[in-house]
Each structure stands twice: as C-alpha cells, then as structure tokens.
Symmetry: C2
Subunit: 275 residues, 2 copies
C-alpha cells in the first residue's frame, strides 16, 4: 500500500456531478486519499474512447487500476468504457436492470433526459427562487414576503445566506432570510415585517465559541466578535425563539446540506416530498 | 400498469440529497411518474424501523412495492431497512464490497464522514467563495478581482448569477460576474476593470428568441426585451468575445449544472480535477 492518492474517474454522459458527489461520499468510508477526475459529456464513441485512453494511461503511470464510476445511458458507450483498465463501478446498469423488471418497462436509454429539462416549469421555478432568495437576503427587502416558502432568521454569521441560496438552488424554494439584531432584542419582539409570517419562520442557532471564531475572522478584535457579546446575542435569540415558538437548528458543525435538510424536515414543506 | 405515480423512498444516514439526485437521474430513463420521499438522518435502529414502517405502509396503500434507494453505512441499520417491503436498491453495499477488495482495506462504516467535515478548510473555502460570489455579483464590486477563480461575462439574463453561485457552492470557486452593457459595445471594449484578468474571463451567450422571452417575463413589452434589441446585444457581445479571444458557452437549453461543468472544462481550473 503506497500513500499515493488513488485515481478515481467519473465518466458520465451528463455533467457527472451527482456521480462525483456519490463517489466522494462512498470513498470517504476508506482511510485513503483519492484524486477525482470527472470526465463529463461523454456522449459519442470518440469521447468514450478518449475516456478509456485517459484511464489506461493513469493505470500505466501509477501501476494500479484506477477506480471508475460510470453513468452512461447508451449501451454502446457503456461497453466501450467498460473495457478500460480500471475497477469499473457501473452506477447505471447496476440499477437499471432491477428497475426495468420491477416497473415492467424498458428504460428509454435517452441521454440527458433530466438535464435537458432546462425549459421546464420546475427549472424556471428554480431560477426564480434563486432570484427571490438573493433579493430577500439579509432582510434586504420586506416586499413579497407572503411569497416566501421559508424565512430563515438568526443573528449575524449563523449561516442564513448559504442555506437560503442552497434551498433555492436545490429545491426551488423561495427562501428569504432576516437578521436578528440587538434592536430586536431590546424591543423583545421579532422584526415587525415578519410577524404575519410566523408559521414560515425557521431559526438558525450556533455555539458561542464557534460564532466568536467566525466573527473574529471577519472583524478581528471587535466587540461584535467577542465571546461575551456572542453569548449575549445567542441567549437573547434563543429566548425570542422560545417565546415565539419558532423551531430552530444549531448549525455549528453542520454542512449547508445538513442544515437545509433539517429545515425541510421541520417545515414539512419539502416540495420533493409533498409535491 | 396504472398511471399512478410510483413511490420512491430514499433512505440515508446523511441528508440523502446525493442519492435523491441520483434516483431522479436514473428514473428519468423510465416513461413513468414517480413520487420521491426522502428519509434523511436514519442513524439509529428506531429510525430505521420507522423508515421500514413508512415503506410497508406505502406498499399496502398502493398495492405495489415502492422503490427504495438506500445509502446506509451501518450494517445493522442496512439489514433492518433491507427487510422492508420494497425493491431495495442498495447504493452503498453494492459498491463498498468491490472497493474493499480493490483497495485491500475495509471500509470504516463511519456515518457522515463526509458531511461532518463542516470545520475543514475545504468547507471554509466554500463559505468564503459563496460570500465572494455574492459580493461580486453583476459587477457590484471591482475589488479583489485578482482573487477570482473565474469571471463570467455576458449580457443581462444569460444566467451569470445562478452559474456563479453554483460554482461557489459546489466547487468553492470564487466566481465573479460582470454584465456587458450597451456602453461597453459603444466603446467596443471590455469593461476596463476586467482587462487585467482576461485569462480568467468566460462568456455566457444565449439565443435571441429565448432571451427575448426571458426578458419579456421580467419587463413585458420593453425595448430591453424586444427581439431586435436582444439580437443587437447578442451580436455585439459575440463580436467582442471573438475580438478578445474569450471562450463562451450558449446557455439556451442548458441547466445550471451543465453550464458550470462547461465553464470548468474550458477554464481547466476544475479544482476537483486539479486539486
């Protein structure tokens, strides 16, 4: 066993992004280092042969078979790439066969069926949701809050912006976000623009130590970043959320995807689930 | 064969987002309608049994086995869910066994190895990239353009903002974007802030008919949306990109993921590939 990174190819007739994400998840289960090479848009025999050449070259150079995740719809291209000198993990055929049997129909073998849906209503909604979330980032606008699918609230630097954008980008949700600021705590009330929409509000929270660290990177040595001030804001925000019966999640060591999933679960407005 | 949507469960010990994306890609190959139900964070026997109950209930209610994609690292939980009354497609074990053999090591069976990396450098870079891309959206700031990994340019409504945000969110790339406006065409030059960074510039282009449609949704009946005006801006932008040797991609019927992948391929700055 060398400590050299093992080469991993992702060969796809689409973007290969999903297969790449999957390969990263599964390979994270192994105590080894990997170097991912994504080969997207492999939609012709020429490109399939090019992919095979790259794989074979890597096999020779490193004297070990690369790992090759494939998602190729076309059987001809799949056969070509399947002959490369690598450990072929065929994400597509592995599951298509049992699905064909269960569904009692053959798969269409049409490339890019999903990704060429750029003209669909769902796709337009997604773009519209991104625009909405940008326009309603950090309380920038109190217009059209009635249209929001969710309104994230929380003190500065808890992760409201990335989570809102992710919800819009991945799920086409109109996700507004609103900061909770010291003035709100002094008044002891939610920002008044939000009061009519309480049922759509979800809170983000964070540990004081982590928040202080994040704020210190942004404004080193400021009162804003001081642990004591972070503790004060967190206590006040927590009290307000309890008083207003707003559900919240602690973001401290969660990824954007985990925060977004938790918000969806709690709001029970997971469009994918309910739609 | 009924026309009723077939139920698809995604049962994961993490967010299940990758498995959900994958199931959507593969099921797009079948002429049928599907209803996806994502069951995330299944990290205890109790939650695994709950998932099984939901699957079994759906099987009884619709009198047909649901399709069940699983990504469960823990063998005990995997065994529990594997007994549900569904067509079980085990994305995890299917590939772990051949990987263990090829790598000569056992998988760690550690849940959330990837997603609990919220404190890593890569994760911080991702958040920083999102903030950068937001601050450099639509030419808002010409500061720190030297830090950009890529600068997208194009006329209004070609898809610069969603693509920039996607590149930041998915790949941690600092993606700025800059509009090309009639004043730039009159001068016959790129915006002068961009000139030092020509090698990082990538163009987005679109068909005139589609652009006119998109702009009409935003400002119905405006000169801005008129087909003739769209044609003019597209011609001028194309001439400028040719003159300045800027590569570009036509976004007309491409998804955000496809545009982003094309940008990465062309820039050869795919951090995942080169990193």
């Amino acid at each position: 066993m060398s400590t050299q990174a093992r080469i991993v190819f992702i060969v796809s007739d689409g973007t290969g992004i999903t297969a790449e994400n999957f390969s990263q998840s599964i390979l994270a289960q192994f105590e080894a280092t990997f170097k991912h090479i994504r080969v997207p848009f492999v939609d012709s025999p020429e490109k399939a042969h090019d992919a095979v050449s790259s794989i074979n070259q890597a096999a020779s150079k490193y004297e070990v078979q690369p790992i090759v995740f494939t998602t190729l719809v076309n059987p001809e291209l799949n056969t070509i790439v399947g002959k490369a000198n690598g450990l072929i993990l065929d994400m597509f055929q592995t599951f298509v066969a049992p699905l064909e049997q269960a569904l009692g129909v053959k798969s269409t073998h049409a490339m890019n069926r999903l990704h060429h849906n750029a003209d669909t209503e769902a796709y337009k909604n997604r773009i519209e949701a991104i625009n909405y979330s940008l326009a309603h980032d950090d309380g920038q606008s109190n217009k059209n809050l009635a249209e929001a699918d969710v309104i994230l609230v929380g003190i500065s630097r808890v992760g409201k912006t990335p989570t809102s954008l992710y919800l819009a980008m991945q799920y086409g949700m109109k996700a507004a976000n609103y900061p909770l600021i010291p003035e709100d705590f002094e008044r002891g009330q939610l920002p008044k623009d939000l009061i009519p929409y309480r049922s759509k509000i979800f809170g983000l929270m964070i540990d004081a130590e982590r928040l202080s660290e994040i704020r210190n990177e942004r404004r080193p040595g400021s009162n804003y970043a001081k642990l004591e001030n972070c503790r004060y804001e967190i206590n006040e925000a927590t009290a307000m959320m309890k008083k207003e019966s707003i559900p919240w999640v602690t973001t401290t060591s969660k990824s954007i995807e985990e925060i977004a999933t938790t918000v969806l679960q709690s709001m029970k407005s997971d469009k994918t689930i309910l739609g």
